[in-house]
Amino acid sequence: MPTLIDRRGPSRRAVLGGIGAAGALMVSGAAVLNPREAWGLEVSALKPETMRTLIVMARDIYPHDRVPDRFYAIAVKPYEAAAAKDPATKTLIEEGVVTLDTLAKAKHGTAYADLGWEDQRVAVVKQIEGGAFFEKVRSGLVVGLYNQEEVWPIFGYEGSSADKGGYIDRGFNDLAWL
């Protein structure tokens, strides 16, 4: 995991602090931490709460229960660099997250990422569907999430094959259940 900061052994307080719908994701200082998966992600251009919300939103848009948080974090991590480089992107993302939280608080009195049920959060996301912020995050995820080679085995996709001699001796016609 070179793209995320390795933070093994988080403090007991941080672990116990991991409540709410964001699951194991918590904010500590300038970082988003996931003690269960033993990683952390430091941000400076975006607020750490914003990055945490983006990770939650990424999973709500493309929920795969077998895919760990770190892959969602990797998928949205480029927005930190983009925000650092481009003020308009930073504004789009920070304001997008504020909108999500405002909508969630109006309905439930809780920030979006802390809503307990996916259905509740998805109902909030649906309210911004089609908008610039939503489309930026969603379209970015199509490549950012599904093009991670480490994710492919979870879906049973084997990736590159010519370097292994193709499938001529590796099961191109091994289906036997018909």
Binding site: I61, Y62, P63, H64, R66, V122, R138, V142, V143, L145, Y146, N147, V151, W152, F155, G156, Y157, E158, G159, S160, S161, A162, D163, G165, G166, Y167, I168, R170, G171, F172, N173, D174, L175, W177, L178
Partner: protein, 523 residues
């Protein structure tokens, strides 16, 4: 004199584009002793450099120069600047194609006569018949090593085919096989046999699949009569005061503008770039663009009626293993209006890797409906439907003067609306594809919308009469005798079949015609 040729050598045939049409024409002319310069916009890659990764390969091969879209097709909504998924590289889209090599059917050369008047459809009979083209089809099949022709055995079926075949037979289809494929099932023509790699769309790394890059152009170059100049983007075709083409202006790999003189110019840049080049070549003498006295340049854009059906089973399929498209049902390809539409369609096995499945299964889709389908990826089987779409005058490639490319030239805008016949045929095909998979236990079937177009056709169509089209039965423009069109934009109508074999057959036929006319000194 042998290649390379001088810019001022006005005895050469200049071909714009090196794909199935241009690469074949150039090679065949060179084999006949005629000097040829092919100007190719893209780079030249070796097959070893092709990449087994969908997005990386897309970055390496795809034509991603700016284009715009309009119309009611879903591609405009989801991929507004990617109307077509075609290649910018030596070999053109023959690097990317799946290999399906089918002849058009007899009646598909005579759609106006066969289908009759159909509101909104600009149907026209081809100026040639199947019988006219048969000798060149035979030559093309031999040259490309098409399976199930010339005694070449069919390819073995992969897992995706097994599911497809079982489902097809279960619902009563009879014409089911691994098809006629220009992919070696055994070593032939100095190329090895298919290693079942998959990634046929990303450029075949074993060389089993025919492409002009590996199977034609090197043969042409070996004669000393063919020079291919990669990274040479043609801007304009020039003509003299008599209206004869004199050469082309292009930007070379170093960004320098060059002028290559020519005895004959042949345009083979695929059905978006070819009309764009003719339109961008407008002059005082030809204010509406070259070869456009009919006003048909860019019109009648066809993309085949397409779509996919993916289905999830309760057991693994691993559809991506092996040849991407070796599987076909032909029972729906004929003409039978009882189904509620004219024309017919083929169903062919198809798979996408996980990254492209995410992009194309339901573009813009999200949430559990989408992701639960993706979760079923390893248990998925897939097929592509390809059928005849109706030519419509308003489906067209025009110049978008408000948007310029990296050279400052107006980009192509591709406008497309489905004809009611296209919609009826697609609905039928979705139903049949779904029935096939459900017959063998699919738990969920997904009618998937058309991808950005791979079969781009018709924008410089063949016609008997000059007023109805752009080129005659030899692909020679009606207006300018030494200007030819040599790609799929010549197609009068699209047929139900994958177009490459017909493009190659037409190029071989055109080469014979050009050689004959050159020796008669008529051009």
């Amino acid at each position: 004199m042998s290649a390379p040729f001088d810019l001022n050598d006005d005895s050469v045939v200049v071909i714009v584009g090196s794909g199935a049409g241009g690469g074949t024409l150039g090679t065949e002319l060179a084999l006949k002793g005629i000097k040829v310069v092919i100007l190719e916009a893209g780079q030249r890659h070796n097959m070893e450099d092709f990449i087994n990764n969908e997005w990386d390969s897309f970055a390496q091969l795809a034509w991603t120069d700016m284009r715009t879209t309009s119309g009611s097709w879903r591609v405009h909504k989801n991929f507004p600047n990617l109307p077509a998924w075609i290649v910018k590289a030596v070999g053109g889209s023959s690097v990317h194609w799946a290999g399906a090599s089918l002849r058009l059917q007899e009646h598909e050369f005579k759609t106006h006569s066969t289908y009759g008047g159909l509101e909104g459809a600009n149907l026209l009979d081809w100026p040639i018949t199947l019988k006219d083209l048969e000798p060149w089809y035979a030559k093309a099949e031999d040259r490309m090593g098409v399976t199930r022709t010339n005694g070449i055995p069919g390819l073995p079926g992969n897992n995706n085919f097994k599911v497809f075949e079982a489902g097809a037979k279960k619902i009563g289809y009879k014409e089911v096989s691994t098809g006629r494929m220009a992919i070696n099932s055994e070593p032939r023509a100095d190329r090895g046999s298919c290693q079942q790699i998959g990634f046929c769309f990303q450029g075949c790394k074993s060389g089993a699949k025919w492409s002009t890059l590996i199977a034609e152009i090197p043969r042409g170059e070996a004669t000393g009569n063919l020079e291919v100049r990669p990274q040479s983007m043609v801007q304009k075709i020039e003509h003299d005061a008599s209206g004869k083409a004199t050469g082309v202006v292009y930007v070379d790999k170093d960004g320098k503008t060059q002028r290559q003189k020519a005895r004959i110019v042949a345009v083979a840049g695929n059905s978006i770039e070819s009309p764009r080049l003719l339109l961008n070549s407008a002059s005082n003498m030809f204010p509406d663009g070259l070869a456009n006295s009919s006003g048909q340049v860019g019109r009648n854009y066809m993309r085949h009626m397409t779509g996919s059906v993916y289905a999830v089973f309760d057991k693994p399929v691993h559809m991506y293993r092996g040849t991407t498209m070796a599987g076909i049902v032909r029972d729906e390809a004929g003409f039978d209006t009882k189904r509620g539409f004219v024309g017919g369609y083929e169903m062919e096995t198809l798979s996408l890797g996980l990254p492209f499945m995410a992009a194309f299964l339901d573009p813009g889709g999200w949430g559990r409906s989408f992701t639960s389908a993706m979760d079923g990826y390893v248990n998925m089987a897939g097929l592509w439907i390809v059928g005849e779409d109706m030519p419509q005058e308003t489906n067209r490639v025009t110049l978008n003067t408000g948007v310029k490319d990296q050279y400052g030239l107006p980009v192509a805008d591709v406008h497309f609306d489905d004809h009611a016949n296209d919609v009826a045929m697609r609905s039928h095909a979705y139903k049949q594809g779904t029935a096939m998979y459900e017959a063998v236990g699919a738990v969920r079937a997904m009618p998937t919308p058309p991808y950005p177009s791979t079969h781009n056709l018709g924008t410089n169509r063949m016609s008997e009469k000059p007023r109805d089209g752009v080129v005659n039965k030899h692909g020679q423009t009606h207006d300018i005798p030494n200007l030819f069109v040599s790609d799929g934009s010549q197609f009068t109508t699209g047929g139900a079949e994958n177009p490459t074999l017909t493009i190659v057959a037409l190029a071989l036929r055109q080469a014979d015609f050009i050689a004959g006319e050159m020796s008669k000194k008529t051009i």
